[in-house]
C-alpha cells in the first residue's frame, strides 16, 4: 500500500506550484487557475486524511470546498470580464491605476 505521506507530499507540491504560479504569472486567468490548483491540493489533503483516519467528514468537506470554488469562479470570471471590457488587457501589471 502506498504510504499516506506520499499523498500529503503530492498535495504540498501541488499547493506550492499554485503559490509559485501566482507569484510569477502575469495573466489574470492563469493566476486564477493557480488559485484553483491550490484549492484542489487542499481537497486532496482532506481526502487523504479522511481515508487515513477512516472518517467520512473529510470527504464531505471536499464538496463544500468545491461548491465555494464554483461560486468564486463565477464571481472571479465576472470581475475579469468587466475589467477586460474597460481596459482591453488581461495582464495584472497593467491593472495599475492605483499604485501599490
Amino acid at each position: 500500500m502506498i504510504p499516506v505521506s506520499y499523498y500529503l507530499l503530492l498535495s504540498a507540491v501541488l499547493f506550492a506550484i499554485g503559490v509559485f504560479g501566482i507569484v510569477i504569472k502575469r495573466n489574470m486567468v492563469t493566476i486564477f487557475m493557480c488559485i484553483e490548483l491550490m484549492l484542489n491540493a487542499v481537497n486532496l489533503t482532506f481526502v487523504t486524511f479522511a481515508r487515513y483516519h477512516s472518517l467520512l467528514d473529510g470527504q464531505v468537506f471536499v464538496f463544500f470546498v468545491m461548491a465555494v470554488a464554483a461560486a468564486e469562479a463565477a464571481v472571479g470570471l465576472g470581475i475579469i470580464v468587466a475589467l477586460f471590457r474597460n481596459r482591453q488587457t488581461l495582464n495584472v501589471d497593467e491593472a495599475d491605476l492605483m499604485k501599490w
Binding site: 500529503l8 499547493f15 499554485g18 501566482i22 489574470m28 493566476i31 486564477f32 488559485i35 491550490m38 484549492l39 491540493a41 487542499v42 489533503t45 482532506f46 487523504t48 486524511f49 487515513y52 483516519h53 472518517l55 467528514d57 473529510g58 468537506f61 463544500f64 470546498v65 465555494v68 461560486a71 468564486e72 464571481v75 472571479g76 465576472g78 470581475i79 475579469i80 468587466a82 475589467l83 474597460n86 481596459r87 495584472v92 491593472a95 491605476l97 492605483m98 499604485k99 501599490w100
Partner: protein, 479 residues
Amino acid sequence: MPENIAFEIQQILPDVILCFFGVFILLAGPFVGKAKQSSLGILGLAGIVAASLATANLVGNDGTYFTGMIIVDHFSIFFRFTFLLISGLTILSSLDYLRRQNINLSEYHSLILFATVGMNLMAASNELIMVFLGLETLSISSYILLGVKRTDPKSNESALKYFLLGSFSSAFLLYGIALAYGATKTTNLELIAKHILSGSADMRLVYIAMGLMFVGFGFKVATAPFHVWTPDVYEGAPTPVTAFMSVGPKAAGFAIFFRVFLVAFPTTYEKWLVLAWASAVLTMTLGNVVAIVQNNIKRMLAYSSIAHAGYILVAFVSGRDDGVAAVLFYTLAMNIGAFTIVALISRENEQKISIDDYAGIGFKQPLLASSLSLFLLSLAGIPLTAGFAGKFFIFRAAIESHFIWLAVVGVINSVVSVYYYLRIIVIMYMKELPEDYVPVSISPGVAVVLWLATFGILQLGIYPDFVISLARVSVLNHH
C-alpha cells in the same frame, strides 16, 4: 425530531431573516423603477432591524447547535450586534450615494445583507469548516460589492485585486484547516483543544496548520506584512463599500482569529506569540508612517485602518480578552461616519478625494466639518472620544500582561498618528476656500448616520461604562 430542528433554526434566525430579505430584494429589484431603488434600501434596513430583534432573542440560549457547528455565547451575540450596526449604517449612508453616482442596482443592498450573514456565521462558528463557509460568504459578497461600479476601471481593479488576494489567502486558511483536521481528526474547535491537550495530536502538523491559518487571517484583517492590498482596494471601491470593508470584514476576521486561536490552540498559541508581537509592531508602525505621506483621503484612512488592526493585535498578544478588543471594534464602527463625509465631499464620479479638496470647508459646511473633525480626533485617540477609551484599555491590557515595550510602541504610534489626522482638520479650518466651491447638501439618511456616529463616539468617550460592561460580558470562554 421536528421540534428540535425548529429550536435549532431559532439559533440562526437572524441569518435566516437576513437571507430572506436579501433574496426578496434581489427578486423585487427588476420590478421596482430606477427612481425608487432607494425603497429597496429601506427594505434592507427593515431586514436588519428584524434581524436585530431576533439576535436580542438569542440572549440566554448559550450552547452549541447543529451538532456543534454553531455556538451561541455572549461573544457571538456582541459581534452579531456590531455587524448589524455596521451594515445598517452602511445602507443608510449608501442611499444618497447610490442615487448621486447613478448606481441603480438592487443587488447592492442584498449583497450587504448576504455579507452580514457571512460575518454573523463567522462570529457564531464553532467549527473550522463553518469558519471557512462564513468567510467565503462574506468574501464573495464583498468581491461583487467592490466592483459594483462596473464601468469604472478603478472599481474593477479594486475588485480584481481583492478577489485574487482574497482567494489566495482563503486557500492558505483552508490548507491550515485541512492539516489541523489531519492532526486532530476533527474540525470542532473544542475537540481540537482536547486532542492537543491529551497529546494524541501530531504537533508538527498542528504548528504548520497554525502558521497557515495565521497567514490566511492576516490577509483578511490586513496586518503587516499581509496588508499590501488594502490601500488599493479601499481607494478604488465605492466609498460606502470602503467604509463597510474597513470595519465589517475586519471585525469579523478578528472575531474568528481570536476564537480559533484562543479556543482551539490555547496551549500552543504561545509559540506564535512572538510572530504576532512582531506583526503588531510592524502593522502599527507601517500603517501610521505611510499614512503621513498620503494625499488621497481614502488611502490615508486605509493606512489608518491598517494601524488600527495593529492595535487590535496588541490586544490579541496581551491574551487578556476581557473585552478590550470588543471596545475597539465599537469605536471602529464609527469610522463609517468619516467615510460618509468623504463620500459626500467626493461628488460625482469621486473626483474630489484629495486632502486639498477639504481646504476651507470648515466654516462653509459647519456640520460636516465639525463631525469629520470629531471622527478624526476619535481615530487619533484624543480624550473624551471613543478612540481614547478603546486605546486606553488595549494599552492597559498590554502593560498588565507585561508587554511593556509593545505598549510603548503603541503609544508612540498613536502620537505619530495625531499628525495626519490633525492635518485634515487644519486644512479644513485654516486654508482658503476655493472660489468655485459648491456646497453639498446633506440628505436625511446621511444626517442620521452622522448623528448616530457622533452620539456613539461621545457616549463611549464621556460615559464608557455602558459599552464596557457590555463588552466585559462578551468575553470569550476559553481555558
